[in-house]
Structure formats: C-alpha cells, structure tokens
Amino acid sequence: MHTRTQGPALIAVGLLVAASGALTGAGASAQTTSAEVTGIGVSIAFTDYRLDWMNERAREFEEAHPEYEISVQGFDDYEALLQSVTLAAQQGDPPAIAQYFEVATQEARDAVNSEGEPLFASVEAAIDGRTEILGEPVVLDDIVTAVADYYTIDGEFSSMPWNTSSTLFYGNASIMEAAGIDAAPETWAEVEAACDAIMALDDAPSACITWPNHGWFFEQSIAQQGGLLANNDNGRAGRADEVQLDSSEMLSFVEYWKSLADAGHYVYSGTQRDWDYTTNSFVAQEVAFILTSSGDGTALVTDGAEAGFDVVASRMPYNGDADYAGNLIGGATLWLVNGLSPEQSDGALAFMQFVNNPENAASWHRETNYIPITNSAIALLEEEGWFAENPYASVATDQLALADGSPAARGALLGGFVQIRDIMTLAMEDVLVSEADPAERFEQASAEAQEALESYNSLYAEE
C-alpha cells in the first residue's frame, strides 16, 4: 500500500480540479449588466471569414457605443445555433440576437421559450416607428423589396435580414465561345439547346450542367412558374396546413431535370445537398454550366480566373412555357430575442441597423457577394463603380427586382421545412438514381410531406 505518497498526491489533484472548475465557472455569460456596460450576445451560424467580418463590426460598434459590449459566437450550422439559443433561453440567459435561415422563418415565429412566451420579438414592433436608435439610423424601411416581402408576415416585418442570396446560373465563357453560344441561356429550352451544342464539341467536358440536389432549387423553379407549395397563399394568408409536392409546376421541373440527366447533360453528384461538388466540378472544367448561390460568385470568378477561364453569371433559367413570377431569396436573417431589458433591446436593434448601414452593407457585399441588402447600399456601390467592374455582382439583385410580389414569388412559409426539403431531395434522388416515375414518386413525397406538416402543426397550431 502506498498510502503515504498517495495522500498528498490526491490533495494536489483535488486542488487542481477545484481551481480549474472555479476558472471555467467565472467565464462571462452572454448577458451581464454591470453599472456601466450592457452585454449583447450575438449568435451567428458562421465559423469562417464571415464570422470575422461580424467580429470587426462588433468592435467598431463598441468603439462608437462604449456602454455596450458585443460578444459574437459562431456556430457550425443553424440547427446547432437554434438549439443553443433555445436551451439558453430555458436557463434564462439567451443571446440578444440570433441568426436563423430563411425557410425556418415559420419555426422561428412559432418558437416559444420555457415560459410559453414567443422566443423572438418582432423587430418592427421593437423599433416602434423611430428613425434613429442610439444614433444609428434605422434602415429597416430601406431593405430591398423582394427581401422585405419574404420576411414581412401579416404586415409585420419581424426580423432584420442580413445575408441574402439568390440562385444564379454560372457559365464557363471559354467553352461557351467554343460552342458558339453568345448569350447565356435564359429558358429551359435554351439550356437544352446550349448543352446539345456543347456536348457536340470535340473536347467537350464530361457533362454540361450540374447543380446540388437541394430543396432550394425546387422552390425556386416552382416560384418562377408562379406555382404554390402550400395552401393559404403559400402560408402567408394564414398558417399552411396543406403542402403539395406534386403540382404541375413541380413535375415540370422534375421532368426537365430528368430529361437533362437522361440526355447525359446533367451529372448528379450522388449525394444530396452537395454544394462543393457543383463548384469544384465547375472550376475543374468538368462541367460548363452550374446553378448555385450568388454567394459563391466571388469565389467562382476568382478560382475560374486562376484556372484560366472567364466566368459569366446570369439569371437562373426559367420555364419558357410559363409566366415568370419571380425568384426566391436564400440566406438568413437576424432575430431579436424576446424579453430583453430596454437597454439590451435598444443596443441589439442599434447593432442590427449598424451592421446593415450603407457602408457596412456594401462592405459585406464586396467581401461575400451576398446581395447589398438596402437600396442605399446599392446606390453607394453603383457610385463606386463596383458593378461596372464586377458585372457578376449585380445579377442577383437585378433578378430579385424582377419578382412580381405574388404569394408564389414571395416564397412559402411552412413548418418543418427542413424535413420537407429532405423529402423532396430524396424523391429526386430516387428519380435520378433508381429510375422512379416522377409523378408517382412525388405523389408519395407529397403524402409524406403532408404528414410531416401535420406533425409540426399539431405542436403549434391553435386547437
């Protein structure tokens, strides 16, 4: 028995553990209000250079407003962020601002904290008609129309949009020139014709076009054709309780996609939601065209230049047989957490306006190629000549400006949207890989989506 040497060793270990426990316990919580400084917690679902950008804005805001302290926390994805915010709210210590993605808007509106109160408060209501908060001019009314339309529900602009994108068509200019294609294809028929021309070349790439198998592209195509995903005006006139995945617009898109795949023009990555495969194939010149987010624009243009070809960005091709209604936004928005003290609320609102003021919105666009979110920012960038130098940068904004404001173009507001998107992408994978019949498979998908929506609504709908 080594009792004599074990005793002191045990005590030392115990002290060490206690000391480290005390140190971690003394870590600052998200909201602290001492007599001088109010703490504002900001939860962001980025961990890369976009988080760094947000951190820089936080430091600038703190310099201008020394009575506030902004602590920005990055997350790997939106689901982790929402869980963290919910649990923090349950413990009575939530951040002030939480970023959440666009199709989860219904879930964000429905979310409740442990007291049964809504988790998020309406930004418009909190601003309460002021034109300036803590010296920061309010920019909520200057937000680009298409974006404001998406996030305004029941006439209430409930969150502060931040990073918004749209779907764009990118083309390899060298291959297009070789095939004699002067202008980027705008309709589905033109895409097919362009692909026929490209694949007939001697040194044709392995495939003509690709895009990720992600729910967003289905929603975009339906919106373009003026189709609806859910009842009650896409969920905007009242809570959606019926979802339809086998509408004629959806089936047109699915059949067009399938025909491209059957002709060998569209190449499927093999995994759902594979954004990297799309951009990598394009940069490696394995495909001539891709559809992807406008947020990838800067990276694609730069990488393409390095690889030795020019990149042309244009509108997402639409169904020439249907009237064009508009393209949808993508991206995320900043929500204001409910139940904050007046100082915290004002500080959070001021920070939101600061992040979207013309200079900052222009800087955000320049760095990431998310669209300039306010009209003033667009004007500022035009003045600078940014769009003249970088023609790809204005395509998304122009495309969004074409939307006609109908419920179809505004996009669907649905609960359980992530599950419904998964149902769509799995159905499409079955069509592409297992030769499933589109009409049958999407009818089945529609039933599954309806079930998912009903489970969701059973939790939130008034009984």
């Binding site: 409740v112 359980g416 799995l426 297992s434």
Partner: protein
C-alpha cells in the same frame, strides 16, 4: 382489453403453479402469485400509454402492438416471479438465504460499505443510462420539438407510421418450411430418433423466419432501412471475421518480422470511422479516385460510380468498415490461435487429418469463445459506428442504399429536429440489438466451451 387481461391472469396462474411445483413448493401459492403477476405486469406496461392502442379509432397494427406489449408485460412479470422462486428454491431451500452472513470476504464486518462503494457507479448508470432509456421510451410516444410549447401524446403512432405489414412470398416460404421441420422433429422425437442436422436446419429457419417477418412488418418507408441494416451488418461481420481469421492464421506462422506485420495490420483500428469514410470517399471517387484508375488500367471494364450504383455503394461502405475494424478481430484471433491445444492438433495429424480438416474441426471450435465475443462486438460496431463512415462516404447512399437504422434516426432527431421520431427509431434499434444478442447467447453460447 378485459378478455386479454383475463387470458394473461389465467396464463400467469398456470405457469406459476407449474414453477412452484417444480421448485418443490405448494402449487396454490404459485397460482396466486402467477395470477397476480399476470395482472400487474400488463397493467404496468399499458398504464404509461393509457391503453391508447385499444381505443376505438385505432387500426389493426395498433391493436397488434398493444397485444404484443400486453403479452410482453405479462411475460416479464411472470418470468420475474418464476426466476425468484427458482433462486430461492435451491437445494438448500429458503434457509440458504438466511445463512448469508457477512463474516467472509473482503468486506467482512461491513454490511453496507460495499453498497457505498457501488453507489457512484450506480448513480452514473441511473443518470446517464437508465433514466435516458426510460426518457427515450417516453419521447417515442410524444411529438417533440425543442422549441414547441407542448408535447402532445401520440400513442404508438411513431411506430405504426413505420409499420405496414404486407404478406410476402419470402415471409411465407420459410415459415412453411419451418412448420414442416418442426413437425418432422416432433415425429422423430416420438419415435426416439435424433437428427442433429434437422435441429441445425430448424435453428437456421427460425432465424430466417424472424428476419423475414420483421422485414415484412415494416412498411415501404422503413423496410429499405431495415434491409440495408441487415445487409451492412451481415457483410461487415462475416467479412471481418472471415478475413480476420485468415489474416490472423497467416500472421501466426513463424515468419520473420511477424511482429511488425501484426502492428501494421492492427493500425487502421486506431482511426476513427469518419476518417475511414473520407479515405474511401477519395479513393473511390469516380473522376479522380485511385481505385478507378487502377481498375481501368488493369481491366477492360469501366469502374462503376459508387455514388449512383446502389450495390457498389453498399460494398464500399462494408469495405471501409471492415478495413477499419478488422484489426480488432485479428488481434483477438492471433491471441486465440496461440491457445489452440497443440496436442489435439498433433493427434489429428497422426490420424491422417489434412490441414483443412484440422482447421475446421479443431481450430475453429477452439476459437469459439473468441468468435462469439467478436460477433457481438462486430455487430455493435456495425449497428452504431458504421453510421459515421456512411455519413462521410455516401451520406445515406444513392437513394437510401446505405441508410441504416442509426443514420435514419440521427437524421430524424438532429437534422430535422423531430425527437419523437428519433426516439421511436432508437427503440427499434434497441429491440434489434436485444434480438441479436439474445440469439447469439442462445445459439453460439451453447456451443462455447471454455477450457479443455
């Protein structure tokens, strides 16, 4: 429900009486205790779900599940009673229990000290294993999302949603064969003849029937997931054990540097499953993968794309899992091969048995305990860890070809935020693990002999 309760009480009474008589106690006590168990057991199981499966608007599947739960509760309670009576009625009788003293052993003189030492472990087990298990059962009967204001009770909907029993030829066929074999067994037993090969066929058929019926119970949505799990698990276990044994045999020979070879062969085991997934993702890439390159150089055939071919996707997942986990089997088999009785081997050699016969009849039975253990650990790996490889290799595979039970439930719970669905699928996985372990203990456990 009342006729069912009466049936359970009656069955409990009969079983109890028989068990008590066998234990040498009075049959009447057995009847009473058995009847009580048959009454309490089912009620204890049905109470948390408020017997909702027997409501009027519920369908056939709900009722069937309800009856199953009823029977399960009764069996558990009566089984517990029988187990207790068998334990108490040892040759020394109930007096043996009274003779337990605390005068011997490490803890002599301290009656409750051992429980104090066990307490931390018990607390952790309860907090992190048992309570979450009970909570999972509870969650599987509710609609749960983290941000929701309520958690409505949905009875067994999460299970019945996955179950749409259909009658399939591949479920009826083996069942018919099994019936024939059982009848044949009974007839032969009556006549006093013994047919061990018939018993082996019967065991195999039982397994086939259970698997086929389980597959037939699940509906279109979950049947693919269940089948995929079976395919991936069987592939991983069989390949891992067979290859592991083969490699272990090779490495057990007296060759120079076998220590180095053994270490190199076991190395992949130190890699975590997602890394194996990423490695094989790159190797089998249809455009730039090295495997495709080598294949197309050496053979005139084109390498299929594993991301769009379902059978190849499953094969690649099995390959990646086997590569990662085979080190474990090799390690244990090498150790086991060193313990094979050499005198028996020599005797067999003198008797003229060839190497293959020696291997089949002496080495493999001698390795039975290790094989038994490796089957269980490989099945555990295949159920729980292959999901990590799949996530990076195929993300659920072309059209669900590599979506196993674990992948489906992680997707439901964490990605889609639907904890009720995830919990129900967890319980199904739990049932599968129980079934496999039970089968293993019954079939292989019987044949395992420890020592000479």
């Amino acid at each position: 429900m009342y006729p069912l309760l009466a049936a359970a009480v009656l069955a409990g009474a009969l079983v109890g009486r028989r068990a008590w008589l066998r234990a040498g106690l009075r049959g009447v006590t057995g009847m009473v205790v058995g009847a009580l168990a048959g009454f309490v057991g089912p009620l204890a199981v049905m109470n948390p779900i408020r017997s909702c499966t027997f409501d009027d608007e519920r369908g056939g599947v709900d009722r069937a599940l309800g009856i199953l739960l009823f029977a399960g509760g009764a069996a558990l309670a009566v089984g517990l009673a029988v187990w207790i009576v068998n334990a108490v009625a040892r040759p020394a009788g109930p007096r043996a229990a009274r003779d337990i003293t605390f005068e011997r052993g490490s803890f002599r003189g301290h009656r409750f000290f051992p429980f104090g030492l066990l307490a931390p472990t018990l607390v952790i087990l309860v907090l992190f294993l048992y309570r979450p298990m009970v909570e999972t059962f509870r969650l599987s009967t509710h609609e749960v999302r983290t941000t929701a204001p309520r958690q409505p009770f949905v009875c067994l909907d999460k299970y019945t949603r996955l179950m749409e029993p259909t009658i399939e030829w591949w479920a009826i066929g083996p069942a018919a064969l099994l019936a024939v074999v059982l009848v044949a067994n009974v007839v032969l037993a009556r006549r006093g003849a013994v047919a061990p090969s018939l018993r082996k066929i019967r065991d195999l058929l039982v397994v086939l029937v259970v698997v086929a019926w389980a597959t037939a119970v699940f509906g279109a949505r979950y049947r693919g997931v269940f089948t995929t799990t079976l395919v991936l698990t069987t592939g991983t276990v069989v390949l891992s054990l067979a290859l592991g044994l083969a490699i272990a045999t090779l490495v057990s020979q007296k060759i120079r540097g076998r220590g180095v070879y053994r270490t190199l062969l076991i190395w992949p085991y130190a890699i975590s499953p997602p890394i194996a997934g990423i490695l094989f993702y790159v190797m089998f890439d249809p455009l730039v993968g090295i495997i495709g390159n080598v294949w197309e150089t050496l053979t005139p055939f084109e390498m299929p794309n594993y991301r769009t071919e379902k059978w190849l996707a499953r094969f690649v997942v099995i390959l990646a899992s086997v590569w990662k986990t085979i080190g474990f089997s090799i390690l244990f088999y090498v150790a086991g091969l060193q313990n094979v009785p050499t005198d028996t081997l020599e005797a067999a050699q003198i008797d003229g048995a060839g190497p293959l016969q020696r291997f089949r009849h002496i080495v493999i039975p001698a390795l039975a305990p290790i094989t038994f253990f490796l089957i269980i650990s490989n099945v555990t790996y295949a159920f729980f860890e292959v999901f990590a490889t799949t996530t990076y290799l195929t993300t659920g595979g072309p059209s669900g070809a590599t979506t196993d039970v674990m992948f489906a439930l992680v997707q439901a719970a964490t990605e889609q935020g639907n904890f009720g669905d995830g919990a129900a699928q967890s319980v199904i996985l739990f049932a599968m693990v129980l079934a496999v372990t039970g089968w293993q203990f019954r079939s292989t456990g019987r044949r395992v002999t420890y020592g000479r």
